[in-house]
């Protein structure tokens, strides 16, 4: 009987662990150490002055990511002096998507003059920890005494196709709220994006 209970508990726990839970607002976010396109290794700990971070999971090949490159660049430039450092992370495995390789990232960052670090998460380790499912996907973190706390997660704004037709700038609204000591509203949004294909996940077919 006891053995059965233990087995059942082990099963419940294993199910819990295998289901990747995405970071939600209020969660404490993990720091990372990943290679930038300039060859340097970057962690959030390298920015002791920063009040927070705009983490954007993005990549080279995805049309949605491409549509947001200029907007991300502008946000990076605008909010850095206000204490919020933007860091882009490419979570794609280049064996699956060749256009997302490290050398292609270097070319892209140069061609589009990225004003932010563009890091490669080649083992998809941090994308998994953050629970990112698509590109582009944003996690806005605020530095607190207890660590880096997620304050906003989701989309950059409400119009991927046409920057001129945007009516709600979700990320900038969240940043402005934090800068003024307020809560982000909304603090969670959704958007269509390119799915992050996790290596080895293709064997796991749904029943």
């Amino acid at each position: 009987m006891m053995k059965k209970i233990i087995l059942f508990l082990a099963f419940v726990l294993s199910v819990q662990f295998s289901m990747a839970q995405a970071y939600k607002v209020g969660d404490k976010a993990s720091d990372f150490r990943l290679k930038n396109v300039d060859g340097q290794w970057v962690s959030m700990a390298d920015y002791p002055e920063a009040k927070g971070f705009i983490i954007v999971f993005t990549c080279n090949h995805c049309p949605y990511s491409r549509a947001y490159e200029t907007r991300i660049n502008n946000i990076a430039v605008r909010y850095k002096p206000l204490g919020y450092q933007l860091i882009a992370i490419n979570p794609n495995d280049s064996t699956i998507v060749a256009a997302d390789s490290y050398s292609k990232m270097q070319l892209r960052a140069k061609a589009r003059s990225f004003h932010f670090p563009y890091l490669l998460d080649d083992h998809q380790r941090y994308a998994k920890i953050y629970g990112a499912t698509r590109t582009p996907q944003v996690f806005l973190l605020q530095k607190q005494e207890g660590g880096l706390i997620v304050r906003y997660t989701g989309a950059i704004d409400d119009n991927y196709e046409d920057p001129m037709e945007v009516s709600q700038r979700f990320l900038q609204a969240a940043l402005n709220a934090l800068i003024h000591g307020k809560q982000a509203v909304p603090n969670t949004t959704k958007a269509i994006g390119c799915s992050i294909k996790y290596a080895g996940a293709s064997q796991k077919k749904t029943p």
Partner: protein, 162 residues
């Protein structure tokens, strides 16, 4: 004179063809599209969200086409909902449909307010594509990510045979 006639006629032909292409695919916003997710009858519907540039979407398309063919005599309907940008319809989507000889019905969903409509498709959907809804009346299944032929076939045949 003949040269000019040739040039003009070929321009007219190209214009006419592009017009024909442009008309061959319906473009909906979510409000116009939504009823396709809630048909209340005994037909089994497969609604697949994809885009011509999306690698895992394109990978699963042959399986979806096979299923569409397999159940063509049944009460079954497949709708491939393209999320290609509106500006890419003529330059990318239509040539893609033609070159892959896609038989299932393709519609374009062009509605940037995805923060609102993603939850209306399914609250578990994060917005990553591909994503698939299979439904019949009030029975409903949702999956984010690629689907194999077997898993889609199992789901569709269960609904059809009920």
């Amino acid at each position: 004179m003949i040269k000019w006639f040739r040039i003009i006629s070929s321009v007219v032909l190209v214009l006419a063809l592009s017009k024909l292409y442009a008309q061959s695919i319906p473009v909906f916003n979510f409000q116009e599209f939504e009823s396709l997710l809630h048909k209340d009858n005994d037909t089994t519907y497969v609604v697949n969200f994809w885009a011509s540039w999306c690698i895992p979407c394109v990978e699963e398309l042959p399986s979806f086409e096979k299923i569409n063919k397999k159940y063509s005599a049944d009460k079954f309907k497949m709708i491939l909902v393209s999320l290609d940008f509106k500006s890419d319809i003529n330059s990318q989507l239509l040539p893609f449909i033609k070159s892959k000889k896609i038989q299932a019905e393709v519609v374009v969903l062009s509605d940037p307010h995805s923060n609102v409509w993603i939850n209306k498709v399914d609250s578990f959907w994060t917005g990553a594509i591909p994503a698939t809804v299979v439904y019949k009346g009030s029975q409903r299944f949702f999956h984010e990510g690629g689907m194999s032929y077997q898993s889609l076939d199992k789901r569709v045949s269960t609904y059809i045979n009920e």
